[in-house]
Every structure is written in structure tokens, then in C-alpha cells.
Amino acid sequence: MNEEVQSMPEEALPRVNEFRRFIRVLCSRRLVAFGVVAIIAILFAATFSPLIAPYDPDAQNLDDVLQQPGSKHLLGTDSLGRDTLSRIIFGTRITLLVGVGTVIIAASLGTVIGLIAGYFGGWIFTIIMRCTDGIMAVPPLLLALVIAALLGTGVKGVMIAVSFALLPGYIRLICGQVLSVKENEYVMAARSMGVSKIGIMFHHILPNCLSPLIVQMTMMMGLAILIEASLSFLGLGIKPPSAAWGSMVYDGYKYLVMLPVLSIAPGLAIMLVVFALNMIGDGLRDALDPRLRGTL
């Protein structure tokens, strides 16, 4: 008894190291560290947009139409005299809202459906998997486009549309994880102790699916943002006057010759966010991979 108490601090130590190792691995690659910094900056910009942005993003100023980048407007102004930099800063809000929103919807629904398919197996598994095969046969952008257009343009419609298009990826991932986890001894043990099916699913199987799920969520957030931007670009996503980066690129098209910055700047913003998310996803995959534990 006494010995056990004494060994406690030593037991606790590896846990702290584990977390340190996680942070160290995550930040050891320069690109991943860059991603973390970029995302923090973007979160900051989204939270404090009104304080950072030099102008009101929607304020039209017809005296200052299509200005070249300069000291007054760092990235110029669009055809309605709106400040491009301010619109990009406020655009972080829509982008993050859509990114986070779709990931939450798709990941939670996908996790539940994937758990059910993987755990129960049999005809439930067959039906769910054939349906995901069906959805996956249609390019996600095309599917999101159809649903977004039918639901009517707007943040809510876009979020539902993109979530639906990305849902099969989550279902497959979780289902595959469940299939590989559910034959383990600890699941058998829980079952023999009379734990309910739901209890086994959520307390014993789900925690073991979390690492790949987190990686997938980070990567998919980038994809969701790209799809939203494409929809907005096509005019079937988030409608003006909201400052969506995709529709800003489209608006800038007409002035590509005289003011390329109108199209290029919001596109760079999209790339920065998606790049940062992908890098963090890569880093998380390395940091959470138990096979690499100790080697990194």
C-alpha cells in the first residue's frame, strides 16, 4: 500500500512528458509550427475584426472606387469603394464559421452513424456502407453545389450542403476504426461485465477512434473552406454583401487587368487558412501516432 502511494509521482511523470512530447513533435517541423502560428493569427483576426480592420467592410464609398493599393487602402478598394483589407479581415469570420460549423455537423453525425454501422454490423452495416458508396460516387463539390442551391444561398445552407458532402468520409473512417477496435479483449471484457451496447460504443470504442478523427477533422476543415469558397465563387454559396473570400475573388475578376490585387489577395487568404490547417493535421497525425511514440 505504502509503496504504491510512493510510486504515484513517478507514475504521473510520463503523462506530463507525454503532453510535452505532443507539443514538441507538433512544433518540431517548421511548416507545422508555421501552421499553428497562422491559425492563431487568423483566430485573433476573426475575434477582433472590428478593432483591427481599418474600415467598415461593407461601407461603400463611391469617391474611392477601384483604388490602387497605397497608404490609405493597403490592398486597394473594390468597385463599390469598399476596403479590400477590411473585407478580408472580416471574411475570416465567415470562413471559420463555415469551417468549424461543417466539421462539427459532419463529424458528430458521421461518428454516430459510423459507430452504429461498425458496432452492429450485418444488414445495418451493409445499408449504411452502400449509401456512403453512393454519396461518394458524386464529386463533393458537385453535391454541395446542388444542395446549397436548393436550400437557398446563405451561411446555413452552405454549412448543411458541405457537411452532407463530407459526411461519408467520417462514416467510413469511424466505421473502419470500430471494426478494428471492437474485437479487442477490453471490449469483450466490458461486454461480459454487462455494459450496455451504448456504453460500450461511447466509453470503450469511441475513445480509441479519437486520434484519427481529430486528424481527419483538421484536414476536412480545410476542404470545407475550399468548397465554400468555390460555391461562393460560383454565386451559389454565401451571397454578397457578406465578405466571403470566394465571392471576392469572383468580383475581382472583372478588374483583373487594372487591379489584380482584388482577386489575388482574398485567394491568398484562402490558401493561408487551408495550408495552415493541413499542416496542423499533418503534425497532429505524427504527434498522435502511437507507432511513432519514442522515435520523435
Binding site: 442551391a149 436548393l150 469558397a229 470566394g246
Partner: protein, 318 residues
């Protein structure tokens, strides 16, 4: 192998049926009414309720959903995808005119992705940690993040407007004028190929690195085999398996990407058709396009599955 192929084919048919049901339900259950679009688009502002009912009856839209679905499916199997509600053209015929354009651009991009992507990936993995690896890794990561419509804008700005090398947009059939066709197709193909090249390079790089860690590769080195033999005979054969699976996804995404690219470069392909159809809520057009796209994707996946089963015989017994 035959049982495996037959099983995969049955599966493919089932997937196509599910897609057809999915698309049909999506178009009918979600809000939006093409009849109203049709009525308000013309000078039919004063159309009476009876006329609308008559129109609905004519188009068969007053019947129950299962009946409509079975009718549509029956006709689709016989090669009749219906007529556009708005413009009255035959949907299958229109798709027949446009599909070759989308496939022409798509297959070029796919071929570039299949060749250049893995090549870059292998080169980068073999020279791991050197400048080539760093360059490929950064470029590949940028390539999978660049929005295609934005890449298109940059290319138009640099290559067309600034340097005046290529036409800004348009499409001419290669049968009509190959020179003009090639000039017009370079930018759309490059834009479409960026994602496949980048993601194939990433995937190849990581799977080659994974395989190089295996014991049998160490054995091969220990046997004193040359680097060339080890890479070509031992590493590549195993490392390319996940890359082959990736190709099915890439082809699907190229077709998806054509929606954007065809809009940017004003190319009259399937992507443009579906965007226009969606804006005017022309059910038969959108349903038809998605069905044909899904069939294309499913057939290509079927071929990839068969190739995979042939490359890795273990798959057949799963």
C-alpha cells in the same frame, strides 16, 4: 478473379441505383420549384393556376414520387433522360455534346497527375531531407490548398493579360483546329492537374518512406542489391498500392473541379451545364448530369478495383 470481377460489377450497379435515388430525392424534397422558374422566366407572368396544373401534368410532376422515380429510372435505362424544362432540349443529347469536352480536359489532367505526381513523390522520398525533397513538399502542400478558380485567375493574369501568350478563355474542338485547341486547353488542364499532381506526390512520398522502413528493404540492402533495383523492384511495387487507390478519388475530384474551371475559362462542358441548370433549377438537366457523372466515376472505380485486385491478389479474398 472472375468471381471478384462479377462481385465488383454488381456492387457498381447497386451504387449507381443508390445515386439515382439520392439525386431524385434531393431534387424533389428540397425547396425550389422549376415550374415557377419556367413560368416567371418567360412572358407567362399571367399564367393561370389551371395552366400551371396542365404544365405539371404534361411534365408528369403531378404523380406520386415513387411513380415519378420509377418512370425516370425506366427511361434513363433506355437512354432517355428527359428534356430540359426551361429550354426543351434533350438532356442526354446535350450531355453527349458536352461530356467529351469535360473528359478531354479531365483525362489530360488525370494522365499528368498519374505520371508527374508519383514521379515527384518518389524522387522526393529517395532524396529525403535534401533541397529537392523540401521543394517538392512545399509545392505539393501548396498545390493541394490552392483554390482552382484562384489559380485560374493568376494564370489568366500572368500568361494571358501580362505576357499575351495564351487566349483568355474559350474552347475549340481539337478536330476543328488543333492549334487553337491546345492553346486554349493549356491553362484549364494545368489548373485541373494541380491538385492530382500535388496529392499524388504527397501520397507517394509518404508511402515510399513507409515502405523503405520495412525489414525486407533492409534485407535487400544487406544482400547488396543496387539502389536502382531496390527502388524499382522492391519499394515501388509496394509503395504504389495506396497511390492506385487514390486515383479513383482524384478522377472524381477532377470532374468536380471541372465545375469551377469550366466557369472560369468559359468552356461549354458538363460543369457549366450543371451550374446553369442549378441556377435555373432545371431538374432533368441536373439529375441527368449527376447520374452520368456518377456512372463515369463508378466505372472508373470499377476498373481501378479490378486493377487493384490484379496487383494485390490478397484483395480478392476479402
Amino acid at each position: 478473379m472472375t468471381t471478384y470481377i462479377v462481385r465488383r460489377m454488381l456492387h457498381a450497379v447497386l451504387v449507381v441505383l443508390i445515386v439515382s435515388l439520392l439525386v431524385f430525392l434531393l431534387m424533389r424534397l428540397l425547396p425550389g420549384d422549376p415550374i415557377l422558374m419556367y413560368v416567371t422566366s418567360g412572358d407567362l407572368q399571367s399564367t393561370s393556376k389551371e395552366q400551371i396544373e396542365h404544365l405539371k401534368h404534361q411534365l408528369g410532376m403531378d404523380r406520386s414520387l415513387p411513380v415519378q422515380y420509377l418512370e425516370w429510372l425506366k427511361n434513363a435505362v433506355q437512354g432517355d433522360l428527359g428534356k430540359s424544362i426551361l429550354y426543351r432540349y434533350d438532356v442526354l443529347q446535350e450531355i453527349g455534346n458536352r461530356l467529351p469536352i469535360t473528359l478531354y480536359l479531365g483525362l489530360w489532367s488525370f494522365a499528368i497527375g498519374c505520371l508527374i505526381g508519383p514521379l515527384l513523390g518518389v524522387a522526393s522520398a529517395v532524396r529525403r531531407g535534401k533541397w529537392l525533397d523540401g521543394l517538392v513538399t512545399v509545392l505539393a502542400n501548396l498545390g493541394i490548398t490552392a483554390p482552382p478558380f484562384w489559380l485560374g485567375a493568376i494564370m489568366i493574369y500572368v500568361l494571358s493579360l501580362h505576357l499575351g501568350l495564351l487566349p483568355v478563355y474559350g474552347y475549340t474542338s481539337p478536330l476543328k483546329d488543333l492549334g487553337v485547341n491546345l492553346k486554349q486547353s493549356i491553362m484549364p488542364i494545368l489548373v485541373l492537374a494541380t491538385f492530382p499532381v500535388a496529392s499524388a506526390a504527397r501520397q507517394t512520398r509518404s508511402s515510399v518512406i513507409e515502405v523503405m522502413r520495412q525489414d525486407y528493404i533492409r534485407t535487400a540492402w544487406a544482400k547488396g542489391l543496387s539502389e536502382r533495383v531496390i527502388i524499382l523492384r522492391h519499394v515501388l511495387k509496394n509503395a504504389l498500392m495506396p497511390v492506385v487507390t487514390l486515383q479513383g478519388m482524384l478522377l472524381r475530384n477532377i470532374i468536380g473541379g471541372s465545375v469551377v474551371v469550366e466557369t472560369v475559362f468559359a468552356i461549354p462542358g458538363m460543369g457549366k451545364l450543371v451550374v446553369d441548370g442549378m441556377i435555373s433549377q432545371d431538374y432533368p438537366v441536373v439529375q441527368g448530369v449527376i447520374l452520368i457523372v456518377a456512372v463515369t466515376v463508378v466505372i472508373s472505380n470499377l476498373l481501378i478495383d479490378i486493377l487493384y485486385g490484379w496487383l494485390d491478389p490478397r484483395i480478392q479474398y476479402e
